[in-house]
């Protein structure tokens, strides 16, 4: 008899989701899906609002990554104004974004995934949480809490508020940085870097215990996408989009964020409110790609800061297709974030008073692309002659990873789930593969059916039921 296993809700992720696993007559896994079960609708209800409100409105999508949405949204609004924002404002936004990435990575690694990594995938579920970590390794738990605190405090010093600050505005930022604030931030950076290094040192040994997971946690060839600098180093705020293949060959480079619709199409699967973007030239679903820490380190030639570069040399020997290595990549990015913030803040021009460009809207379409902790984030707005939003389209990092997450769930389920009796630890692995991606589902589910792109409705087998082009 066929049977369905449902993991609902998936725990230790951000937002609500469930996983269903289909078993055939022999008890083998025949199919598995990752369902995102909520709709947020931001794309729809911002229609009619003045575009200057968009950063703060869009920031409300998430309480963990409000900064990422603020930045992508403000960049889209900069494009509506058609201005080049003052360079110090861009650098200040960069620092804010790096602090945000560091704190979010700390949340993902320490709070959500370290219980699996420290205590083991098969540990007692009542212990397999941050409190269990606190008992087993107080230093590790304290490091996680402190790292997140440092990131959040930097955000607060810069923007006056840790969550949903109003500091990032169309045209730049609302207040310049003074020396006192700069020094306060600089004073915290060495500790953040120390924690990141200590954690990477610990994690390198942990990796040896998880060979089976490394081999099966969404380990398959896909494309990887992210922003890079022209020099091929990490870029979290601006820059061209680079796409590389599973074996590291460059597929595309220097793509412009505002051309995203020419190379990304969005599909919708009936089982999820999360859309499934794919690389258009490769079609669906062959255009599957991944974004986020693993993808970013897979596309760059090197991160671009000394200690992160050194660690990257070891990382490069790992299997580049295993999503298990999102964890490792995340830690290297935390190192990069602290090193990069120091580089940016050392430059006195960051305290320049001119931090906001002012203009009337000069363009009817504005697209902002930046790197959020979980990957490339795209905000696309259109306005009428009065500056009111007529259309908004968001492609959230987690959405880019949707196809890979689904395929990853199936891969893990097929490997670990066999027979009638299924140990809890095996189901935990199915959740843990999702955790490697650090999905933020509250960010990622918006108005399905309003995409200004090609829209395909697919059966579970990938057969196209309906197709719509706008």
């Amino acid at each position: 008899m066929t049977r369905q296993i449902s993991i609902d809700p998936v725990t230790r992720i951000e937002g609500h989701a469930k996983i269903t696993i289909q078993l055939d007559d022999s008890g083998a896994v025949s199919d598995a899906h990752f369902h995102v079960t909520q709709v947020r609708g931001f794309e729809k209800f911002v229609e009619g609002r003045p575009f200057h409100e968009m950063p703060s409105l869009m920031g409300r999508i998430c309480g963990i990554c409000p900064v990422s949405h603020l930045i992508a949204s403000a960049k889209a609004c900069d494009a509506l104004l058609a201005v080049t924002i003052p360079p110090p404002a861009a650098d200040l936004r960069r620092v804010l974004n790096l602090a945000q990435i560091a704190q979010s990575h700390a949340l993902s690694f320490f709070y959500l995934s370290s219980p699996d990594l420290l205590l083991g995938m098969d540990a007692d579920p009542s212990q397999r949480n941050i409190f269990g970590v606190l008992q087993a390794d107080p230093q590790l738990a304290r490091d996680g809490v402190r790292l997140r605190q440092i990131g959040q405090q930097i955000i607060e010093i810069l923007a006056d508020k840790r969550i949903h600050p109003g500091w990032v505005v169309p045209g730049g930022v609302s207040q310049p940085l003074n020396a006192e604030k700069r020094d306060a931030i600089m004073a915290m950076l060495p500790e953040g870097l120390t924690i990141a290094r200590r954690t990477v040192d610990w994690f390198r040994d942990v990796l040896k215990k998880y060979e089976e997971e490394i081999a099966t946690f969404a380990n398959f060839p896909t494309l990887f996408m992210g922003l890079t600098t022209p020099e091929g180093t990490l870029e979290m705020y601006d820059g061209g989009i680079r796409i590389v293949s599973a074996d590291g060959e460059r597929v595309a480079d220097g793509l412009r964020g505002d051309d995203y619709a020419t190379f990304i199409n969005e599909a919708v699967e009936p089982h999820s409110y999360l859309k499934s973007p794919y690389y258009a030239p490769y079609g669906y679903p062959d255009g599957i790609y991944r974004v986020g820490p693993l993808a970013r380190l897979n596309i760059v030639d090197r991160p671009g800061t000394p200690l992160a570069d050194a660690e990257f040399a070891a990382f490069r020997w790992q299997d580049r297709n295993s999503s298990f290595h999102y964890h490792y990549a995340r830690l290297i990015e935390v190192m990069y974030c602290f090193e990069k913030m120091a580089q940016l803040l050392e430059n006195d021009t960051i305290m320049d008073e001119h931090v906001r460009a002012r203009a009337m809207p000069n363009s009817r379409v504005g697209i902002g692309v930046s790197e959020a902790p979980r990957g490339t984030l795209m905000h696309h707005y259109e306005i009428d002659a009065d500056g009111l939003i007529t259309r908004a389209n968001l492609i959230i990092a987690t959405g880019h990873n949707n196809l890979a997450m689904n395929r990853g769930v199936l891969q893990v389920a097929q490997h670990f789930i066999k027979g009638e009796v299924i140990p809890e630890g095996m189901l935990n692995r199915v959740e843990a593969v999702i955790r490697t991606f650090d999905p933020c589902l509250s960010c990622s589910t918006h108005a399905v059916g309003k995409m200004p792109l090609q829209l395909q409705l697919l059966t579970p087998t990938g057969e196209i039921l309906d197709e719509l082009r706008r």
Binding site: R49, P50, H52, E53, S56, R60, G166, R358, L388
Partner: protein
Amino acid sequence: MSGVVTLKINGQDIGAHDEESILQAALDNGIEIPTLCDLPGLSRIGACRLCLVEIAGNSNLVPACITPVQEDMVVTTDSERLQAYRRTIVELLFAEGNHVCSVCVSNGACELQDLAETLGIDHLRLPGLHPAREVDASHERFILDHNRCVLCTRCVRVCDEVEGAHTWDVTARGIESQIIADLNVAWGDSESCTGCNKCVQVCPTGALVDKGRSVGEMRRRREFLPYLTMMRKENGK
């Protein structure tokens, strides 16, 4: 001929001109009464009912802004009954429109928000109506967001009484009421509007705002109003 009357407000003996309202007499003596539609320099209309007070011997509550003082009047400006009325009024205002402080340009500088805070309103007992209302951004420099309008008509009065343009008016009835420019044209098409921005300065909420403001960036300057009114009166003598 104006005379002086004596009365009690909250047990305090007070002297006032007999032309004065209870609100004015209270304010002159440092007694706060919550208001929303009232603004020094504009005519008083008793629309918002937040300044309701109790008068001994009168079972009805009266609006302090338009009720003149009388000899031997005994006024109470704060009681459980009054608090309950005021809270209900403010909750009704929130429920009737679309007020989302956290993403509003007037966050931190909004009289409706201040009232809610003062009255301890941290949630609504009434379901929000969430009406579908328009945003008029047709003016080059300003925006009228009907979602945040509480129909205090300060804009209507300042435009008529101080600027003399009478661009703003109120159309329709009851819950359908809304502020209109001229004979219900887009603000940007109004022929009478002088673009003086007095209406924007007097708006208590985020309904009338400067274009280009982001969340929490709206600030108002209103000190000028009583002086303007005074100067106009003197010149008209």
